[in-house]
Symmetry: none
Subunit: 227 residues, 2 copies
Amino acid sequence: MKILIVEDEAKISDIVKAYLQREGYTVQVAPDGETALEQLKDGFDLIILDLMLPDMAGEEICEMIRRDSDIPIIMLTAKSDEEDRIKGLGIGADDYVVKPFSPRELVARVKALIRRTKGTRRTYSFNNRDLVIDTDRHEVMKAGRTLTLTPTEFKILNTIAERPGQVFTRLQLVNTILGYDFEGYDRTIDAHIKNIRHKIEDNPRKPEYIKTVYGVGYKFIGRLDED
Amino acid sequence: MKILIVEDEAKISDIVKAYLQREGYTVQVAPDGETALEQLKDGFDLIILDLMLPDMAGEEICEMIRRDSDIPIIMLTAKSDEEDRIKGLGIGADDYVVKPFSPRELVARVKALIRRTKGTRRTYSFNNRDLVIDTDRHEVMKAGRTLTLTPTEFKILNTIAERPGQVFTRLQLVNTILGYDFEGYDRTIDAHIKNIRHKIEDNPRKPEYIKTVYGVGYKFIGRLDED
DNA sequence: ATATAAATATGAAAATACTGATTGTTGAAG
DNA sequence: CTTCAACAATCAGTATTTTCATATTTATAT
């Protein structure tokens, strides 16, 4: 997923670039309008556009882009007037963020917009993307390989991975996954845990992710990658 | 174009409603969460959601909506913390506007979001033009041969192909294709999927494009061509 | 250390749930 | 009146979930 930042102040573009790269985006920076229009030919999935550029107005660039492209645009600017915002959104920007801004909020807005444009992708990962859980695709990636988990397996993994370190009793898992009305036997969970381990663990006999807490239940261990 | 405002303070909803109506939108107001979820069945194109409601948290409503719908959501709230904003965008909102807000800016954001949502691609193709979807002609080309899909088949294919990889539940598809008020049986989708597969798959028994996700629904798999 | 009891892991069979294909009915369009 | 698409219902074939019997591991008390 490629993002172009059009911004002349290196101080700002460096920060934004760093935050976005940490999310796995490929980022390029254009310090002025001319460079931006040149680089746009490479094809990007989103543009973050500063309105105050040395050579031309950001609004002008926005209009030029909109003549032949539908690429998502986030305007980034010190102009906080209501009029400016309305004008920015009016000429085809998708979002308008005012400086000083929070880089994390900007990233959240980038994600929301990309989700809207490309399709949802709520993903979280552990241990430098060794294990990636993608809720929208209903898939889990282990060391870059895509696994398909059954619905129950997926729910169990997703439940415990959302709270790394917290122990879940079998009863809690049965209630959450199979529902409070489930009449069966709580050792069913064991069988599912076994199957999940065979799919996600390097050595299912010495699990790294799903630990057994003797006499209590199971817990998920993993370092959540920065979001 | 129908918009639902979920807001308990009449003073605010009246203003927003007036501004939106002036733009030609059809507007309905729900004063609490329960009413909102009830009214949602009527099918709206966008929701403006206050987070502080008398009966339930707006975040909760947002999550419930996102379970079976991709409708655009703008959160409207007094909570201005960075954390709240990131969380709001994280659970599937498209935009987050802080009170006190400018009604005109809100309208501009509504327009920007609707433009983004409704402006879909006209024609796009997968796997080196093996499968070409042409929205205007309502036609699909498979390996150079033109197929004619029925209206429902086309809508289903178009919906899932616009977001390759994302799983769609039958309920989501029913809501999107047949409307929220549709009372029928969601297994109907299966029959349509079967028919689509017979038209676009080389071997409908081993589908390459439309994959079944057991216990969840269907997803479209394909490499979108660059152009 | 070792024995013992208790808890967990495993593999395979049985029970259940889900999908895909078939068929028939309904309703709308020409 | 005919045709075609949409929807509903059914059934057989699969995939998944659950159970159960057995093996293995763990905790604890000698």
